[in-house]
Each structure stands twice: as structure tokens, then as C-alpha cells.
């Protein structure tokens, strides 16, 4: 039973083809990596899955735990898709900079809140109980990521590594089944990358996640991904096990250029 199925997904920006014929059959709990040179269309695929763009052609079907059967994602709004159970982080951190660490996580609970606007305006009904619950949930989540001491700090004041961690915590607050990580190791040294590898494995188990990862750091990719898809200029040029991809001539050519391989 696939969790996510992308079929012949193609996307054009005006006349430029950013992604062509992307296919993916994702089983639950997999950890799949998407790699390729810059500009290959990797983040575009994340944007297509999460609804930031509507794919020009093709389907993306998701087996959401919240809805019976499969749901077509193309054409849905980003917030609807997130509510179905897909969350993500960003290449360039997109935290709510002028808001506190706690608020960043609380906001991600938006769709789970059980009171109506009227109850909010007058502070009646379920308002107080739900606010309690969300504050507690958020602090619990922050504690899991060892960020609870920073709860009232502005997120922009956090050191880079902690900001990245917060972004993941925030994404997990939406209770996803599928987590998309966009270059989580950007700007990290080899030591930090080792920790990140353990961290990703851990959250996969702890939060019962399926993960798709975009990354340039080969150490991380080869270390934890179960299988890879390699993109170049929007097209999938190779897919398979990491150890096979490492030796694939087309992949080497894409990264290093023709002369380096030949």
C-alpha cells in the first residue's frame, strides 16, 4: 500500500520545463533521497507535492490517515495538504522570525484547534481548554527537541543549528505522516552531519514518519537513505540503491561533467 504515488508529474514555468515525468512510489516508513545538481528541480518537486505549485501535468496521490482511500493532491491548497499529513522544511529557513519559538510551534497546530472564531472572540466554550492543550503540546514537543529553554525567545535570535531544529519541530507539530526535508544539512560541519543522521533516524522511529530528503551532502545521503532518485534538468536520470548510484556513470557525469568521467 503506497503512501504517496507521483505519476508522470511534469511542471512548466512559462516555457521552461522544470520537472519532467517524475514518478515515485513511496511505501510507508521509507527514507528516500532526491539528489542532483543545483537547479535540477528537486525543491520544485517538494513545492508540487505540498501544493505551492499546481503540477502542469500528472497526478500526485496521497494515502492520508485522515481520509479514507487515496487523495489527489494536485489542485489542493497548501494548508489542505498539510492538514492531510504532509509537512516540510525549507532550503532557506522560513521560520516566523519576529515570533517566539513557542509561537512558531503553536501556529503549526492551527488545523488541530477545536474552537470556533466566536469562542475565541469571547473567550468562552472550548477556548481555554484548547489553548491549555496546545501550549502543553507545543512545550512537550520543544522539550523533545531540547528547545524548551528558548520558548520565549524570538526565533530569529536562535543560533543557526537550533533554528534548523526548530523548523523540524514546527513541521512535526502538524502531525504529519510524510516529512519532506529540504537540505537539512546545509551549513553543517561533518560532526554535526553525523548527529543529524542519527537525529533523522530517531525522529523517523519516534514519530512514525516516512521521509523524503533533498540533500547535497553525500555523507548524509549515502549514510541514511534507503534508495535514491537522481535528477538533472528536471528529468530523473537514475534511481536505485545508494551504492549503485555512486557508481552510475550518468550520475557522475551530471555532477562532475563529461570530461571528468570520460
Amino acid at each position: 500500500m503506497s503512501l504517496l504515488q507521483a505519476k508522470s508529474v511534469t511542471h512548466y514555468f512559462g516555457g521552461l520545463c522544470a520537472v519532467s515525468e517524475f514518478n515515485l512510489d513511496l511505501a510507508p516508513h521509507e527514507l528516500v533521497g532526491i539528489i542532483g545538481p543545483n537547479g535540477a528541480g528537486k525543491t520544485t518537486i517538494f513545492n508540487l507535492i505540498t501544493g505551492v505549485y499546481n503540477a502542469t501535468h500528472g497526478n500526485i496521490v496521497f494515502n492520508s490517515p485522515k481520509v479514507a482511500g487515496d487523495t489527489e493532491l494536485v489542485g489542493k491548497t497548501p494548508s489542505a495538504i498539510t492538514a492531510l499529513g504532509i509537512a516540510r522544511t525549507f532550503q532557506n529557513i522560513r521560520l516566523f522570525k519576529d515570533l517566539s519559538v513557542l509561537d512558531n510551534v503553536r501556529i503549526a497546530h492551527y488545523a488541530q484547534v477545536g474552537y470556533s472564531p466566536i469562542e475565541a472572540l469571547l473567550q468562552i466554550g472550548r477556548y481555554h481548554a484548547e489553548e491549555e492543550r496546545i501550549a502543553r503540546n507545543s512545550m512537550d514537543l520543544l522539550a523533545v527537541f531540547k528547545l524548551e529553554d528558548y520558548a520565549e525567545e524570538f526565533s530569529k535570535n536562535l543560533p543557526y543549528g537550533l533554528q534548523r531544529r526548530l523548523e523540524i519541530a514546527r513541521a512535526l507539530a502538524t502531525k504529519p505522516k510524510l516529512l519532506l526535508l529540504d537540505e537539512p544539512a546545509a551549513g553543517m560541519n561533518p560532526n554535526e552531519i553525523m548527529q543529524l543522521m542519527d537525529f533523522i533516524q530517531w525522529i523517523r522511529k519516534e514519530f512514525d514518519l516516512t521521509i523524503i530528503l533533498i540533500e547535497h551532502q553525500m555523507r548524509l545521503v549515502m549514510g541514511i537513505c534507503e534508495r535514491l532518485k537522481v535528477l538533472d534538468f528536471g528529468a530523473t536520470i537514475a534511481e536505485g540503491l545508494p551504492k549503485d548510484i555512486q557508481k552510475n556513470p550518468r550520475v557522475l557525469e551530471a555532477y562532475l561533467g563529461e570530461e571528468a568521467v570520460g
Binding site: T50, V52, T77, P78, S79, T82, A83, A87, R88, F90, R94, L95, F96, K97, D98, L99, L102, D103, R106, I107, A108, H109, Y110, A111, Q112, V113, Y115, P117, A120, L121, L122, Q123, Y127, E130, E131, E132, I134, A135, R136, M139, A143, K146, E148, D149, A151, E152, R170, A171, A173, T174
Partner: protein, 332 residues
Amino acid sequence: MARRWVLPVLLAVGFLLSFAIPQFGLLDLYVQLIIMYVGINIILTTSLNLVNGYMGEFSLGHAGFMAVGAYIASVLTVRVFPASMAVWLFPVAILAGGAAAALVGLVVAIPSFKTRGDYLAIVTLAFLMIVKSVIENIDALGGPRGFLGMDKLTTLPWVFIWTVLSVWVIRNLVYSNFGRGVLSIREDEIASDLMSVNTQQVKLIAFVTSSFFAGVAGGLFAHVLQFINPRVFDIIKTTDILIMVYLGGIGSIAGSILGGTIYTVLLEVLRPLGVWRMVLMPLVLVLLMIYRPRGIMGMREFRWFVPVRDLIASKLWRQAKQKEVGDVPSAS
């Protein structure tokens, strides 16, 4: 918290004063009038701050919502309600004015789903001009000559009640789930969408609430001035409200109260300067913008307005955790 009783006590005192002052003539009638205008302006400023300050949009249509509220409320008290009942039905008229303005706010919210920034400014500006033109063309409303006949139903107690109610409701919204949604839209709308925030729903709520209270202010305004015409609700009026928002501080309830009060009072105090009053005021504004671009209380809040839970969230959490574990000091 010991301090938490101060605010309700102050409000109770204020409420009593609002009756006592007109009853016993404790203050000059002129001063009472100014206080009423301060209240009305606070409602206008706080409601606009919700959309322009907290949500980071640029809506230029606030005077239009005010106009809708003013006219609906006035038509009700002058033409619809029996004269003897007008005093008792005054709150109904105000609510009706607010509801009508809210309905119009619903319509204006829809373009905000797709456009932001300057384009939304145009849409709201065009809407303002359209409201003005529509009123001018309806003879039953007096057209360009205006509408009169309202009794002076707006009294100090009413202004006090409506001002406190407006500020309280808007503050509740800000510190709720929807208010956090509003803030997240200002910070990063795309990320907000992707973190499950239904941005369309949030924008609707913000616009409708904002325009409702602008309509309430309009109704109160009409019944203290006792005469309204379309020219009162033009771009200059919107500009006045914008200035109050930015003067007091964007994204701040206390800022809105401050801005509304300072602007109204200052303009009165400077009246002897004649036309030079409006030469000095903008200079002060420009200087303020240069040195405090977000306004006096920009994005900061008066502690007593912030819900306790938000102020000490982590402390409360730690206390709850300690109770759970049975007074064992937490490891981290």
C-alpha cells in the same frame, strides 16, 4: 497574579465615572466631547491595527466601513425605529451598523486572498471611493448633501462600553489561534499556509472583525456629530486613522489606545495654532517615523493586556511537569 485585579477595578471605576461625569457635570461639555471622540478613535485605530498592523496588510478602506456603519445606524434611529424607542434601541442600531460593515468587509476580504501589498491598497481604496459614490447617488440617504436628524444618542457611558468591548474582543482574537494565524501571515504567508494555517479563513476573520468595529465606531460617530455626509468618510479620514495606527504602534493594543488618544487630544490642544496645527502635526509624525518606524509601541504590548498563559508559558509548563514527576527536579 496579584496585579491581575487592577485592570478590572480600573474598568469598573471608569464605567462609574462615565456615568458620573455627565450626570454631575464634573467636566466641561467640551472635554466630554473630546473624550467621546477619543473613544471612537480608539475603536477605529484598534480595528485597523488588526488588518494593517498585526496582519501586515495595507488596507485603505477603513473610512468606508465606518461610513456603512454610520449610515445604517442613522437610518435605523431616524427613519425606522419609533422615536420613543430610539434611546433603548440605540445599541441595536450600533450592532446593525457594525453587522452591515462586517458584511461589506467580507466582500473586501476576497480580493485579499490573491493580492497583497500595493495591489490590495488599490482595491481597498477603490472600494472606499465606490462606497462614497454610492452614498452620494442615493437620494434617500441625502446624497452629497448629507443625512441628519440623529439624536445625540452617543453618551459617555456608551462610548466607554463600546470602546472597552472593542478593545477586549480584538485583544482576545489576537491571542487566540486565529490571532496567531494573523501574525504568521504577516511573517511569511507561504510558510504559514504550509504549516496548516488556513490563510483564507484567517483573512476573512480579520477583515470581518476589523470592519465590524469600524462600523460600530461609525454609528457612534454619527450620533455624536448628529450630521454625516459622504465627504466625511473619504481618504483623508482613512489617512487620519492610518496615522493613529502608526503613531501608537503597529501590532499593539496598547499602541492603538495610545495612538488614538494622543492624536485626538493633540489635535485639540493645538487648535489655537489654526492651520499651522496641520503643518506641525505631520512634521512630528515624520520625525517619529524616522526614529521609531514602527510607532511608539510598535509590536510591543502592555503586560496587562497579554494573557497570563502567554506571558509565562514555559514556567507554567515546568510547574505542571514537576507536579507530574512528583517534585523531582527536571533533568534539563
